[in-house]
């Protein structure tokens, strides 16, 4: 189980994350929704042990991420928003490097590489240098890299951003299969249709804090909107520092 409790993160005078809490269990898919700059990526980086929170606690299966980041990272597979591939290495070399760093044996690495290549339709690009790859190809390699060691928790930062329809469908089908097999997925996105297709639970983050949490239906009901997009738009507007609702909320 992943448990994030009241985390805060400041960068100089800017507070990126104010008070964010969420939970996710095995086999569950949690979507972090929020506009650009809301604090989704910073929250995920704290969860992955890349950033140290200024306040709050993060646990993965009772492992304190701040105190034991290496132990916690063993349970995570992460797809960052930029993919982060070595461009002078081939796709296979990228996968092999990370498999070795995760401690996979040579045979297991070969097996997983073949399996993921088939699932993500990567056979043609596997032995090509990643320099010049399209966004979709880079995404596939990065996703395969995140899944090489079969992690129980998969963190994805805007996984289908800039992908064509076919690649989006392939990624979505893989994520659903992983969910069926009991993998816990946490992903950030601002694409409503993707969120409603995949997520059991949603946490909406605006201006560094949680403004709503629940199932997609709960959130639509809470805001009185007609669909998720309208609900999300209302949450973003009402949480804006310049909105009348926000000013009213701040008045004692």
């Amino acid at each position: 189980m992943i448990r994030v409790e009241h985390i805060e993160k400041r960068f100089g005078a800017t507070t990126a994350v104010r008070d964010v809490s969420f939970e996710a269990n095995a086999g569950q898919t949690l979507g972090l929704l929020g506009p650009n700059g809301a604090g989704k990526t910073s929250s995920l980086r704290i969860l992955c042990g890349l950033l140290k929170p200024d306040a709050g606690r993060v646990h993965i299966d009772a492992i304190d991420v701040v105190k034991s980041p290496v132990e916690a990272q063993k349970k995570l597979g992460v797809l960052p928003d930029n993919c982060g591939l070595y461009t002078r290495l081939t796709a296979a070399e990228n996968l092999r490097y990370f498999a070795e760093l995760y401690g996979l044996s040579r045979n297991r690495t070969q097996q997983r590489m073949a399996q993921l290549s088939r699932q993500l339709d990567m056979d043609e690009i596997l032995h090509r240098k990643t320099q010049g790859f399209s966004q979709g190809e880079r995404m596939k390699v990065a996703l395969a890299r995140a899944l090489m060691h079969e992690p129980p928790y998969l963190i994805l930062d805007e996984p289908t951003n800039g992908l064509d329809v076919l690649t989006t469908r392939a990624v979505r089908s893989l994520l659903l299969e992983l969910k069926r097999n009991g993998t816990c997925l946490i992903f950030s996105s601002h694409l409503m249709h993707e969120v409603s297709h995949l997520c059991d639970q949603l946490t909406v983050i605006t201006h560094g804090q949680v403004s709503a949490h629940g199932t997609p239906e709960d959130i639509i009901r809470q805001t009185g909107g007609t669909d998720l997009e309208a609900a999300f738009a209302q949450l973003c507007t009402s949480a804006s520092p310049h909105s009348p609702e926000h000013d009213k909320a701040k008045t004692p």
């Binding site: 132990e71 290495l89 490097y97 890299r145």
Partner: protein
């Protein structure tokens, strides 16, 4: 250890494919070897092609015996008329030996008969020739004075009480190293900056290429990642250092040192000593370079800072070259400066104390460990 090996292998593969980055590193030792060879050849060529000097003499007919002595010493003379001071000042003639009109008369009367050598003391290129002329003339005066004393029944030794005699303790190889003083500087430069680009690429390049985030999410301690990268940079530096040593060996072997009157006999043991001295320096340099690159905010920042690092060996190298001091224990204990001084000693054929080598290695490795520690703590997202 397996993790270090994994990072090491990946960095080798990545660097090997970066031809534009690797080629200058491999060319550097070749360029330094060619520079050493070129300098020695140039000096030899300068000596061979030097035109024979002819001394302009004013009123030469007044001092025929002196001219005979100059000719005997191998100096050619030619008559001169005109304004010697103006012509020397304008650089039309290098120097003029002016014999006064009264010289023959004063000489006959056995009075003090002075002559003048007119030349520009600020021009270093005429220094050796002027000294040679003055030495021949002084010897002629001395011989003449001795003859006059003998003629009067006085022993010349009565007027010649004694003189200071130079006793040169420098070995021939040490003298040669004064000319080849740039060789230790080249070697230290190679050891120190060979992998500056690679270190930048491995550290700041990860940040710029946005692969650092992915790498930091791998569940291994950051010091293993640092160690793998450091080991890769050190191994490449050692390859380049070996090439540089071989290049300098070939340059010295093939250069016309005999024609310059130099004896350079650097044995295999001397080269091995230099190699041993360069190993801790390579460890220090790559720790420093990785630390700088990890601390830098961008690839450009890192490149700027690493360029400044190249000034360090140049500064210490010039100090060693110009100071000419013998290496003390205190100097040996200073990383970089000590390495450079000891390498100069080794190539000069001086025997090095094992204690000094060990002390230098210890201080270099301690500083390398300090930079590595600081580098590991800088291995994070900002």
């Amino acid at each position: 250890m397996k993790m270090i090996w994994t990072v090491f292998k990946k960095e080798w593969l990545d660097t090997r494919r970066d031809i534009k980055g690797v080629l200058p590193i491999l060319i550097m030792p070749l360029l330094f070897a060619l520079t050493s060879y070129g300098v020695l050849n140039f000096v030899a060529a300068m000596q061979q092609d030097k035109p024979e000097f002819t001394l302009p003499v004013m009123n030469g007919d007044q001092a025929a015996p002196l001219l005979a002595a100059l000719h005997e010493a191998g100096l050619k003379t030619t008559g001169f008329s005109g304004d010697p001071i103006a012509q020397v000042r304008e650089g039309e003639v290098p120097m003029v030996l002016r014999i006064p009109d009264s010289f023959s008369e004063q000489f006959r009367e056995q009075q003090m008969a002075n002559i003048e050598l007119i030349w520009d003391l600020s021009r270093n290129e005429h220094q050796a020739t002027a000294n040679r002329v003055k030495s021949v003339v002084a010897r002629w005066y001395q011989t003449l004075g001795a003859q006059r004393l003998i003629f009067r029944g006085v022993s010349p030794q009565a007027a010649h009480v004694g003189q200071v005699v130079d006793v040169n303790t420098a070995r021939e190889q040490q003298m040669a190293m004064r000319i080849l003083g740039s060789v230790p500087l080249f070697l230290v430069l190679v050891a120190f900056i060979a992998c500056a680009g690679v270190a930048t690429e491995m550290a700041a390049g990860e940040r710029e290429g946005r692969t650092l985030e992915t790498l930091l999410m791998v569940p291994i301690a950051k010091h293993w990642l640092f160690a793998g990268k450091w080991l890769m940079a050190c191994s490449l530096s050692m390859v380049v250092v070996t090439l540089a040593l071989f290049g300098q060996f070939m340059a010295i072997k093939m250069a016309p040192t005999a024609e310059l009157g130099l004896r350079i006999d650097v044995s295999l043991q001397d080269y091995l000593q230099v190699f041993v001295l360069l190993v801790p320096l390579v460890a220090l340099a790559n720790s420093l370079l990785l630390f700088i690159s990890l601390r830098a905010r961008s690839l450009k920042d890192s490149q700027t800072y690493t360029q400044l690092v190249t000034l360090l060996p140049t500064a210490t190298g010039l100090y060693v070259l110009l100071s000419g001091k013998s290496t003390s224990l205190a100097i040996a204990a200073i990383p970089l400066l000590g390495s450079q001084a000891l390498i100069t000693d080794a190539l000069s054929g001086l025997s090095l104390s094992a204690g000094m080598i060990a002390l230098n290695a210890l201080t270099c490795l301690m500083l390398a460990a300090g930079f590595a520690f600081a580098g590991v703590s800088a291995f994070k997202l900002r």
